[in-house]
Symmetry: C2
Subunit: 339 residues, 2 copies
């Protein structure tokens, strides 16, 4: 166990691969391993890249990898795979990209699949980010599909969030944009060589003007309020504000990539210079603690509850003798939930 | 409170609207209201309609409404809005559709927004389904974007799950298909008047042949295994098996809609005749109990924990003095989580 951690810190890519699998499978000793690695984290810059299917996120990630490598920076990529909440298989596209960089020890690409519900994916992704961080990668790119709560939760672990759009994707995508826009630090109109790119840029700029300026703060405080979970107070809104730039890119011809990289650096500098990194980290950590607490509490409760009692309650709920929340209250009253 | 429930059961659309808002806002007395309504549920047939942005799900829902109304059946629609995990606003498209049916008391369309994380949306959606059910709607259509774990959790509350595809959506969509396919009872290739429809049908059929036959069972037992939550045993796999049909539709010209409705009925008959409805309900109820238990346990724990202790742990995690899971263990040890 500690041998693996030691190898990882010494740069072993084999240890990296094994530890990521270990974490994804949620092995019993994974917490001990993560505890050993945790003091070695906090050095990488984590960039979240999110957008609807068809916006070309994967190609954009691929050109970002090349650009960072040309600067001599190492890059870890976590592709959160929406395709397999159950099967856990890596998707073909990731395999292809992995091969393209397979000769380069400064690049490591990993597909993460959702493992069960109840927060498994966001836990595993956060842990994977820390493993890459401890392994010494300079940049960590986390790619997710920009639809769904879990995906928003995942991308929240990033320090800089890029939302990718593409021209002419229809009304459904417009709708997604409305919500995801609130968490964007940088907006990218990819496939900008296609017709309608200028219109998409105008649309995004118009929506930005209507939206909240201090997006990440409002995201997290909303989360707090709505889940009735106490969160740290929002930072002073009179402070310096980051206005998300809108950048046009075309992955195939490398258009706009240099500007995108410049803006990622500018955002990093903005957060650091304005003392915002600690506050953003604190809120993300607080929510992570609640998510983990919830999972631990449920496990403890299940161990303390006779399975026959659960099965009996399930049957009574199905037969409409008791409603689901009252069934839960029964479980809470009859079992103290202690180990 | 009970007045509202009484009005709802008597068919008041105003009570329906108010109760849905009440539930969405997670008001303190919502559990009492749901308990009062619960004995009146279990009569409607719930159809989940899921698919990537751009596949035309909303238009399909619209033509389904018209077809069911032509049969004299009442229809409730819950559009789970992925666009606004935070703002809670209804999207423009839903408003437009609502207006189209606004003169018809046999149709009621409601947009649900995600309220915070930690399972708020799946709880609210399940409750909303029950409100429509108690209000006496014959068919309840639940529309979600088919990407992300939460969306899969939501659609699982449906008895018949329709996965919608469209021709020529690129590689990203292919990837989504791989995971979502496992939960499909009926596959629809919408926009079948577009080029490439036959190819999409062939692709889906090929994937089906590779996939699991008893999709819904395997979904839930996987969930159970992976989250380390005990679940009821899977039903005998030698039983009758439903093979998901692949149907081509074109919403604008009503192509394939009659066949789709026929297949929804066939699936309903299949589940009922083979005694599968109780087993499917039991597993969905069991997972719902765990989700609700988790939320209640967290609330209880937070009430029992001094905020200063949480803030101190957050700071120590940020400063890498303690890792997140160890911080959670500290909270679990120092607070018994009792009310």
């Amino acid at each position: 166990m500690t041998d693996w951690a030691k190898s990882l810190l010494e740069g072993s890519r084999r240890a990296l691969s094994r530890i990521l699998t270990f974490i994804e499978n949620n092995e019993a000793s994974a917490p001990a391993l993560m505890a050993a690695l945790y003091p070695h984290t906090g050095k990488a810059w984590v960039v979240g890249i999110t957008g609807a299917p068809g916006t070309g996120k994967s190609s954009l990630v691929n050109v970002l990898i090349k650009a960072y490598r040309a600067q001599g920076r190492t890059v870890g990529v976590i592709a959160v795979d929406p395709s397999s909440p159950f099967s856990g298989g890596a998707i073909l596209g990731d395999r292809v990209r992995m091969e393209e960089h397979s000769g380069d020890p400064g690049v490591f690409i990993r597909s993460m699949a959702a493992r069960g519900n109840l927060g498994g994916l966001s836990r595993a992704t956060r842990d994977a980010i820390r493993v890459f961080d401890a392994a010494g990668f300079d940049m960590i790119l986390v790619e997710t599909v920009g639809a769904g709560q879990n995906e928003v939760d995942i991308v929240r672990a990033a320090q800089t969030i890029i939302v990718v759009e593409a021209p002419g994707m229809g009304d459904d995508v417009q709708a997604i944009k409305a919500g995801i826009l609130e968490i964007a630090d940088i907006l990218v109109v990819n496939k900008a060589d296609r017709p309608g790119a200028a219109q998409t840029v105008r649309g995004l700029k118009a929506m930005l003007e209507l939206g909240h300026p201090s997006s990440k703060e409002s995201l997290i405080s909303h989360h707090g309020r709505l889940t009735e979970v106490p969160v740290l107070p929002a930072t002073n809104t009179h402070e310096a504000i980051w206005l998300p730039p809108v950048i046009q890119t075309a992955s195939l011809e490398q258009k706009g990539i240099a500007e995108l990289i410049t803006q990622i650096e500018a955002h990093r500098t903005f957060l650091t210079d304005n003392g915002k990194t600690a506050a953003i980290q604190d809120r993300a950590i607080e929510l992570e603690l609640y998510e983990r607490l919830q999972a631990s509490l449920l496990q403890r409760m299940i161990r303390a509850t006779p399975p026959a009692q659960v099965l009996d309650l399930v049957r009574r709920v199905r037969q409409r003798e008791i409603d689901p929340q009252s069934a839960v209250e029964t479980l809470l009253t009859q079992n103290d939930g202690q180990p």
